[in-house]
Subunit: 732 residues, 2 copies
Amino acid sequence: MTLDSVKKFDLDAMFKPRSIALVGASSDSRKLSGRPLRFLKEYGYKGTIYPINPNYPEIAGLKCYPNLAAVPGEIDLAIVGMAAAGVPAIIRECAAKGVRAVTVFSAGFAEMGDEGKRMQEELRKAAFDGNVALDGPNCAGLIGVRDKVIATFNSAMDRGSILEGPVSFVAQSGALGTYMFAAAQDAGVGFDYWVSTGNEVVLGFPDFVSYFVMQPTTRTIIGYMEDARDGEAFKRCALDALRAGKPLIILKVGESEAGAKAAASHTGALAGSDRVYSAVFDQCGVIRAHDVEDLFDLANVCAAPKYPRGPRTALMTISGGAGILMCDRCEESGLKVATLTEETKAALKKVLPAFASVVNPVDVTAELVATPDLLVRPMEITLADPNVDSLVIFLGMQVHNGAKLADHIVQAAARTDKMVAMNWIAAPPVALQKLRENNVPVFSDPARGIRSLGALVNYVQRRERFLAKNLDPSRAPTASRGRREQAGITDKTVETRAVIQVRPMIDQARKEKRKALTEGEGKAILELYGIPTPGRKLATTAAEAVKAAEEMGFPVVMKISSADITHKTEAGGVRLGIKDAKEAGAGFDDIMAKAKAYNPKAKLDGVLVEEMIGDAVQVIVGFKQDPRFGPVVTFGMGGIFVELIRDFALRVAPFDEDEALAMMQETKAYPLLTGFRGDKKRDVAALAKVILAASQLAQDFKEDFAELDINPVMVLPEGKGAKAVDALLVLK
Amino acid sequence: MTLDSVKKFDLDAMFKPRSIALVGASSDSRKLSGRPLRFLKEYGYKGTIYPINPNYPEIAGLKCYPNLAAVPGEIDLAIVGMAAAGVPAIIRECAAKGVRAVTVFSAGFAEMGDEGKRMQEELRKAAFDGNVALDGPNCAGLIGVRDKVIATFNSAMDRGSILEGPVSFVAQSGALGTYMFAAAQDAGVGFDYWVSTGNEVVLGFPDFVSYFVMQPTTRTIIGYMEDARDGEAFKRCALDALRAGKPLIILKVGESEAGAKAAASHTGALAGSDRVYSAVFDQCGVIRAHDVEDLFDLANVCAAPKYPRGPRTALMTISGGAGILMCDRCEESGLKVATLTEETKAALKKVLPAFASVVNPVDVTAELVATPDLLVRPMEITLADPNVDSLVIFLGMQVHNGAKLADHIVQAAARTDKMVAMNWIAAPPVALQKLRENNVPVFSDPARGIRSLGALVNYVQRRERFLAKNLDPSRAPTASRGRREQAGITDKTVETRAVIQVRPMIDQARKEKRKALTEGEGKAILELYGIPTPGRKLATTAAEAVKAAEEMGFPVVMKISSADITHKTEAGGVRLGIKDAKEAGAGFDDIMAKAKAYNPKAKLDGVLVEEMIGDAVQVIVGFKQDPRFGPVVTFGMGGIFVELIRDFALRVAPFDEDEALAMMQETKAYPLLTGFRGDKKRDVAALAKVILAASQLAQDFKEDFAELDINPVMVLPEGKGAKAVDALLVLK
């Protein structure tokens, strides 16, 4: 929806209106319908205001019109807060009058049963037909800070002032969005635009993000999110922000099981797995905040004019203990305590007291209290060190010299191309103000400062990789082709054939009302997608089994083949390490007997005789379809790692080989693939191809396959490939 | 040192002095030597102040004395800030005059090389000989808030007021202690006592904690710690606090590798492993803060008059989103989202708007803005629910009704015996003040509120277990005896014999300049401590090996026996699953040959022939000696779990069987012991005995054994025991 909406609808009319009509305006400034008028006047909106109300000739000194049509001039934005039933008609009136944008406070739509849903549909149609950009309904409106467009009943406006700045805020909750808007300003976050999205019947979260990305005055976008709704649109807006280098920071709730349950009951929708959101955020360069203050901290650090190029962080402190505290948080935040050069240390030694530490963290000592100028040279020297990407300074109090120290820091920050950030406990207000005015991020707690900086460094690195590839994983068809090539599907004809050959298997399974494909079908499909499987043959008699095993060479594996038996091991339907003809014959009879006993109704195709793969590390590759983001590919180590410690990685398709490798690397068991304790290195390149092929299959048949589970994939030594030993493809 | 120091020295004279002498007092109130006098006068200290300075007849309107002896009255506390060299003599003067307490600001002692160390020793002797309670040197002094004892140059005093309250603060850093003292007050933490401990030559961190525990006005003690120094004393003070029910909350730095490195360079000492600190904190009921604001949050939540009895938490919110946010943080914080009874839900339905959620989180909806009284009944109803241990309420802003809402909450909190806590974003100052004055904890961020409450619940539960056992793990000899019984060493004679028989092995090994005992010696010692090991026999020829194996019954294990070869597998010195006499004979020759090749200088005792243990889960049990806290026992799952994912638990000895079981349970691989995926349940009781026996051995020989590694312990099915298959005992 993103780009289309921004193109189709006039969001400038919404956020930078030259005129605003207040439909159902009230002279009672405490009422929902009276508050925007009061705010527009109090804050000094410069455009024309048209109160619309047939009951009054004028309201608050402004001429009042009986209806929109009666207004003599053009109207950019209308604010609508009347009862739900009347809203669709008003939108049609807006369209007739040429009003290009509306924000609808009114509740009572889809959140209120069937009649509400019907009205919401009518509302949507009216807006689309009339080309009216619509925010809401059931929202708290919007704010354009620079132009004093206070089109909201947001109670933060009762505080009398707004802190202007480079941050725009998209909130999927009117109440929380309002409180956070207020609290963020107390934390030093200055705003450009604010919008409460409500039921999102026309414009949604992604549309507003994409619009704010385009605003030169916006440098960072923060969001409060309960449900992405349209996953594709969300990914697009996130990549818009990433491309533009404007960090998108989102507090998305429903992280925990209890939270997800509460979210489902609050929003009335199961909004997809939270781990999938985290994966999407990572893949699209969205910074995830985990609580309210975290969101503000990240907004503050992202407001800095210069970002660190890497994780190497110099720490400077007035207290040794605070230096240790900052170190403690570096590693877990993805930062490295920089190793200063010998030149830097020698230079610091010359300008600092004899007992000061010149090893990072640099301890400027309490001498600074008496001599604030002592800070100047150490900052310059440390920032000049080529091993340093950013400088974080810790100070406490400084009732008398706070302003002077802040000036020094502001100057040092202005003269370097590196990031400078402050951790200042109990800072004097004057120092805080100077630092904030000059966009030096400042935190009241060392841990919060370090964590925020770490998140920013991670964002910078993610963006660099993104730009280096100049690849938009959500759109580029060439990328998809590239992945097919990596997966061994180089020929267009082959590719088409793969898809063509899969379709009949799906049709057949559906005809038979099966929930899943058989292992044989599954493996055939994997091979069509370039995933090797062990040699195998279906035997329907003991004699056939013996013959197949002999042709293949012992040892072999024998497995029951039946679409009705998915848990083969449990059914006694798997035997490993069959050594000779005798065992093969007996094995056939035994497996068939056990399968019959396990499920007398099961249709048994026979027994699969399969090449036995030795010397392999077992991993699991699969996919699921997420209700919001579509195909999600998972990777984990076999057996207890996935089941016991939930050690697995996931990515939303499509993604490239680097991401497939990153998936492996982020599992704790990754060393098992790289020669752990003298074991051989494993063929991770082949494994990456398996992961990418699974991803391609998930995309090609996202309407058909709910789930794939390849358990295990046997990863052979380097250069020898990886083979899928089992395959469970579950139909939607 | 704790109790002794508190008995020997007069800490009342230090913190509640009736008179204070200022040695080297200055009339310049900006100087270190002038600041305490100014503060004492400004804040209104009621006792007598004696400035001591031979150069002035009077200072700041007070009669000035040339020396301590010239003072006519008694002196409780002296403040000393002169150059280091003169301090020991002053302490002797103090003793002669009968001054009972001193705080020494002067730096230049142990932190400044050998001469400093010598002076520090002289200082210590003077204080001990003269019975002078001494704080410092190299400290920032101390504060008694109620009596306005401002015996410090702490710059937080420049702010002109102190927030009085129930929290006392022990700081191992003057600078950081000062900044945190100021910032904590901004966060609503009110203080009783504050002390900066400096070099701790006489009184240390534990002495102050124990003293504050005894003060009726102190309800919570917070600490900033860099090094516990005396581990035993620290454990005692922590248990003093736990017994008294006064939470001890400590921010201990050096958590990460980088932080520990910085701490070692800052304090000049390797202060033991941080994971050991965490274990000690857990075992002694200390609440660990991980950053500065965390410390304040915990102090605030612990200041509540009523603690939750359990984790079942009711959440009430004005915004659905905030309810989800709070849920998100519950699980990871150890809280449970309470399941409300049907009666509660029915009662809530009657008093809340129709569209409100009455399932926890209870959504009181934005109606509250217009009708603040709407909060009263839902709070009462929810608090009356028997499934609820505490109530956390979320509000945002409320510019107009904040005070009224705060009154309602204060009243509800007063009428219940359950905990009530607030998360209030952008709260009006008047509301904040009302809540704080009435000890209702209030947080500006939902995540911080929930995390702090979770830590408090964990503390309450830990303390309950402690009281239920009425057992002080750091002192009770009976407890130790109990553990020996559990370990199967019931007879006093046997116990003594065990110790007596171990000694000669240690002596022999030392005589031979060995770093470790042989596997044979190690296993013999384990057996003396009641840890079963597999049957085994040392063979010095192939024939002996065959005979031993035949007597034992095949299959057997064969291993090289040599004190010079610790990595047996690497040396080719281990063969498993020896099936018959032929393999046994060949195995002997092969192992001896490989061992010789691996280390031609090694003295080879022969080959151990050992019973082979099947059907077991392999775990690792061991101990290390920590420089601060002595014997530390570790437990982990065998193989990759410990090596790859660092999945292990540790406890400081002594501890009891419950803790041994808790160690197993806190590893991620614990389900492998309880019948994972259809496997048998394992003999965890026998495993607990192994852990306790290792703990006993570590304590009995803490001067001798640096390290024990039993890798693996084979844990057999329930009722069948656990056997140590290898044992490496490293000498100190």
